[in-house]
């Protein structure tokens, strides 16, 4: 993986029948990261993934994977040779058995990992002769995961990998993923609307809303930089405009002014003191709070 960014999109737009699914989405996914792609249902996550895999064409903008444009058919074929993919519906062939599915998929990937195949067949306890249509949702997810993990891929793209699974199965799938990534050198790009999931296994995150990136970066950086600052005043909180960088949200409620800052708190607090608050309280924020403030707050 020589490129610093495995995935790079710039001003990506996609319109379906007059509806804008993506409205200028820009992303940079660093090589070797576990990148959570967070957004509400219908935010544009699946559309983005389809564009990255060449399943749909963008209306405008660019989508590069491994430094190659995913919009060109020849480049897209090469890109897919290096990608493991699990769709949100765990799209597989219902009429094949588990064994047939595996034997069908392996020859397409020259770096197919027969050793991993054997390992996951055992650990996932997949019934070789059972038809895919007869598998439970959990088993289907495990099979889809096996087919993605054994491709010898440099990039795993997972669209809502745990959707529809119970908590125990979700945990099992996430642990398998983490263990796999720990032993293989690869990048994982996974979409989810489960904040806890991204928090649990991700090291980078992009939050998208209505087809645009609203927050992106390393999770640790976000945790360091995002602060909730609560200013309490003697009387009603003033209607103030702040010039400090990174002021994302300002809420007034009675005597309390709450500010979400994405650039730490020092400069903001210095500026806010000029308003003579009775107290200033600075608190770290969780990913869930960032999500709720940036996405739900915009709704």
């Amino acid at each position: 993986m020589s490129e610093p960014f495995v995935i790079e999109t710039s001003e990506l737009r996609k319109q379906y029948d007059g509806v804008e699914a993506l409205r200028g989405l820009s992303l940079q996914v660093p090589a070797g990261s576990i990148y959570g792609f967070l957004g509400r249902n219908g935010a544009g996550k699946t559309t983005t993934i389809k564009l990255l895999l060449g399943m749909a064409r963008p209306t405008s903008g660019t989508a590069m994977v491994f430094g190659r444009p995913s919009t060109l058919e020849a480049a897209s074929v090469e890109i897919r040779r290096r990608i493991g993919f699990v769709s949100d519906q765990k799209d597989l062939y219902d009429y094949m058995t588990v064994d047939e599915m595996i034997r069908f998929t392996a020859p397409f990937f020259p770096r197919w990992r027969a050793d991993l195949e054997q390992r996951y067949r055992r650990s996932f306890e997949l019934p070789a002769d059972r038809k895919v249509k007869a598998l439970s949702r959990g088993m289907r997810t495990k099979l889809a995961l096996l087919l993605a993990l054994c491709r010898g891929a440099e990039l795993l793209i997972l669209d809502e990998p745990t959707s529809g699974l119970d908590p125990a199965m979700t945990e099992e799938v996430l642990q398998s993923l983490v263990a796999h990534v720990a032993s293989e050198e690869m990048t994982v790009f996974f979409s989810s609307h489960q904040i806890a999931e991204v928090d649990q296994i991700g090291d980078h995150v992009a939050i998208i809303d209505r087809g645009r990136t609203v927050v992106a970066g390393a999770l640790d950086d976000l945790r360091d930089q995002y602060r909730r600052i609560e200013l309490v005043f003697a009387g009603d909180a003033p209607e103030a405009t702040f010039r400090s960088p990174g002021v994302e949200r300002v809420r007034r409620k009675g005597r309390v002014l709450t500010v979400l800052s994405s650039a730490g708190s020092d400069r903001f607090v210095a500026e806010a003191r000029a308003l003579n608050p009775v107290s200033v309280d600075v608190a770290a924020v969780t990913l869930k709070e960032i999500f709720l403030e940036t996405v739900v707050g915009e709704a």
Binding site: L53, E73, V77, D91, L92, Y93
Partner: protein
């Protein structure tokens, strides 16, 4: 492996079609002695009307075994059933599978859409070829059972006609399958086109040997006019054009 997948997706349509066509041909052959016994009893028919003309035509043709086979099975049963199964074989594919039935998995494989369509088309055409040739090649095999002969070259000639004309309907449904995201609309439209062509042939019988069904039944060959090479070539060209349009259409599709 894509070949195997394509075969799995169409195998029941293909196998059922093959079984029905083989049964139809076999039944027609085995019924010949009874028909031959009844033919002298057919009274003279008033041929002034279209219906009378047709009945007389069939009765006259059936006075020889070759004519009986052509009139009863090649021109009618096999032509109609092969048309239907050609339409069925052409239906399906990526677009109809788009909603959770494997299309996204297929599209995530390192394979171009042209190759996907190419393999699917080639598999369908191979199955169509089997439907066109295998039942007809039964004729030389089972005709001795009723004391008759049917030449292998003649069977092959009719097989070529069935295949070339059937490929037109197959390609039409392939094209329609890249336009509609379900399996039934392409099948229904394909069948409707087949029926309209049949009606057109009935309305203009003087053009029947140039029509799709005229080519399919090998009428010119049967009547001693040789192979309809020009019509076969035209059928192949129309099929190729529709398959090309299907590939362009599929390349443009968003999934």
């Amino acid at each position: 492996m894509l070949w195997y997948k394509s075969f799995l997706e169409t195998r029941w349509r293909f196998l059922i079609g093959l079984a029905i066509l083989m049964l139809s041909v076999t039944g027609t052959v085995l019924a010949y002695p009874r028909v031959a016994r009844l033919l002298p009893l057919v009274p003279s028919i008033d041929t002034s009307g279209e219906l009378g003309r047709r009945i007389k035509d069939i009765a006259d043709l059936s006075r020889t075994y070759r004519g009986y086979i052509w009139a009863q099975t090649l021109r009618q049963n096999v032509t109609q059933m092969l048309s239907f199964f050609a339409v069925l074989l052409g239906a399906g594919g990526l677009l109809s599978q788009a909603s959770g039935s494997g299309a996204l998995f297929t599209l995530s494989l390192p394979v171009s859409r042209n190759r996907l369509l190419g393999v699917r088309t080639a598999t369908g055409l191979a199955e169509l070829a089997a439907l066109a040739f295998v039942p007809i090649l039964l004729l030389p095999v089972i005709s001795p059972a009723v004391g008759e002969r049917f030449g292998i070259p003649e069977a092959l000639a009719h097989g070529v006609c069935f295949f070339a004309a059937g490929a037109v309907l197959f390609s039409l449904t392939c094209l329609l399958s890249t336009m509609f995201n379900d399996m039934w609309r392409p099948v229904l439209i394909g069948c409707a086109v087949a029926v309209v062509l049949g009606i057109a042939e009935a309305l203009f019988p003087e053009l029947s040997q140039y029509s799709l069904y005229g080519v399919m039944s090998g009428e010119r060959y049967f009547r001693g006019g040789g192979m309809p090479w020009l019509e076969l070539l035209a059928s192949a060209a129309v099929s190729a054009a529709m398959l090309f349009a299907a590939s362009r259409n599929l390349a443009r599709q968003d999934f």
